[in-house]
Symmetry: C2
Subunit: 376 residues, 2 copies
């Protein structure tokens, strides 16, 4: 399995509505893959909260409007913030049946009131024990951060360094939500408290955007990147049913499956896109996926020049988090790196990249491992 084409829009508060965003991303991916719409055997659309914010469901039926004459199978796949990863996973499991599958994700969030967005995002969580008790997502991740601090003797300063790195990387990514926004450590540490101990700059923003991939069964050329593995896991969604808030069982399971299927180890990974909806989650996820011992992630050097660059384009935190697109955009970022086309944020000699995408507070997760280069 290969990724033959990638496309994405800028992320941010954009003027375009969902159909225009989808169109831009699809056009980019199809052109990059050097195929036409007739070569696409099926299309999988990822979107999370278009139904609540814009009363747009059935978003798969937009594809025949955008690609005149297209009548191939299209479905919408949703798994909260892991919708993009779940769409990718679905495509990889179907690729035995099709030569090429188009996977495209979109979210249009900035036009809605922020209270409506917060309410819609909460739909990823448990209805009874979370939504009805007011446990919105910043609160869920704040609970994890508090537990993590207490168990491992960590502090908000450890989170601030994650945010600082992401904003630094986003400043090298012209498509990022926070491109050209200078953020210093004191800006992060003085930003308003959203839900203690999480501050505003620990949180990913409300972004619009779309991203697309063309997946192909066969390799057509040296720019095609191989999917070594793409694996999904699920877990109970209610935090109250989990044995431990300082690690992510669903990430551990998905990563184990992905590394086993790829037949490589953690040390083989040259860079990773990790689901940092909140800064604490980058740390917990790296640990749960086995990149270091529990509690040790703050000591990892995850900068662009370090041994394991993480969230090279700014992550969800600073590149932006248009939810249905986020898990797919992670792959577009890996592909650019593995093609050695990532410009100022290129990781030297990047050959193997990992993407990690979580739904809700850890009810679902997808881990994908890609390999680029002439001999894949």
């Amino acid at each position: 399995m290969f990724i033959k084409g990638i496309g994405r829009t800028k992320f941010g508060a954009l003027n375009e509505e969902a159909p225009a965003l989808l169109y831009s991303a699809i056009l980019g991916a199809v052109r990059d893959a050097r195929i036409g719409p007739d070569d696409i055997g099926a299309c999988i659309v990822s979107n999370f909260i278009g139904a609540q914010l814009e009363n747009r469901a059935h978003m798969n039926s937009l594809i025949p409007c955008l690609l005149p004459g297209f009548d191939k199978p299209c479905i919408r796949v949703e798994s909260a913030c892991a919708s993009g990863g779940a769409a990718l996973w679905t495509a990889t499991k179907m690729l035995g049946e099709f030569d090429n599958i188009l996977v495209v994700g979109v979210e249009k969030m900035s036009a809605a009131k922020s209270s409506a967005v917060t309410g819609a995002l909460a739909s990823a969580g448990d209805v009874e024990s979370e939504q009805r008790q007011g446990v919105v997502f910043p609160a869920a991740y704040a609970l994890m951060a508090s537990e993590y601090f207490a168990r491992y003797g960590r502090s908000p300063a450890d989170l601030a360094r994650v945010a600082l790195k992401s904003h630094h990387n986003a400043n090298l990514n012209p498509l990022a939500h926070f491109y050209h926004k200078t953020v210093r450590l004191q800006d992060i540490e003085n930003s308003p408290v959203v839900c203690s101990p999480l501050r505003l700059l620990d949180c990913s923003p409300i972004s619009d955007g779309a991203a697309a991939l063309v997946l192909s069964r066969a390799r057509a050329g040296p720019r095609d990147v191989r999917i070594l593995s793409c694996e999904m896991a699920t877990d109970v969604i209610a935090l109250s049913q989990r044995p431990d808030l300082t690690s992510s069982r669903v990430s551990r399971t998905a990563a184990k499956r992905a590394f086993d299927a790829a037949g490589i180890g953690r040390d083989d990974v040259d860079l990773a896109q990790v689901h940092d909806c909140f800064t604490i989650n980058e740390l917990i996820s790296l640990e749960s996926m086995g990149f270091c011992e529990p509690g040790a992630a703050p000591q990892l050097d995850t900068s662009l020049g370090g041994p394991l660059p993480v969230n090279t384009d700014g992550g969800l935190k600073a590149d932006g988090h248009p939810i249905g697109a986020s898990g797919i955009a992670q792959l577009t970022k890996l592909v650019l790196q593995l093609r050695q086309e990532a410009g100022a944020r290129q990781v030297r000699d990047a050959r193997i990249g990992l993407a990690h995408n979580i739904g809700g507070s850890g009810g679902s997760a997808v881990v994908s491992i890609l390999k680029g280069g002439p001999d894949v």
Copy 2:
């Protein structure tokens, strides 16, 4: 590919919430298949408007709560009223990767205000040319009915006979929404006009319910039913972009693909479950799928004892239309018939059955053809 187990709840205005409905249907299917949760390789959840009505997205993450210890891949698939068919289609395309896939659909509609339900249902239609103009679904299908009457010289009496047959069949189905509700022709013809020419009893009801299937790669026993084909098509969603309102292009395309893949003809079909969200759609769909000439469906004998029994359990019209479940329940009905276990509504010697599930006013459609019997 085989269907090894089926389960469903009663359809109607029920007390249970979505998780309980899911659980009942899953338990039925898993027991019927004589497998345990550990034998399930992946799960596909179909749901349409839980996000809008109950702020329940990420419904796939309910599965690990319902099946303790389950951590396999689960996704939610949505394609408006074809969500169930789309989930089934997805599973069939993935079945090369898994021994067994659980497909389960659910919808909880009766607890919401009817205006909220109408608004949420409209999310299947085009935002710009339909939702913003007030073209809710009864209006869209009323436009089709008006055009159909004008072109073929038909009248409301032709629709009333469709409803009468469905209510008759539902009275033989203890799980139907309208079981034990006697409906006479004059009740239909005197029911309130919803959107002219459609009356209340031309419309499917607002139902709660769930239905589940266990799909398996291998056949385990004589009760297993073979999936000869399951094919999907898409079309532009806006009615204003369609060349003709009196036929369904998406049904024609999906049916052609399904018959081609199954290698059988229309005459080989012993019974059909056709997407009758409104009575007019049963007629248009039968014609578009090639069971008769355009305009001739009112002359077909689709009763239980006739040459082509249609909607043997009452259809969406009288069995009920809990949307995410409907397309999956169509298959449970076919399986019962092909096992010769359908009781009072059994079609004699039923061997080949067809299910047809449409999204919105025809933006997506799935047609499945099943074969039962000892030698499949």
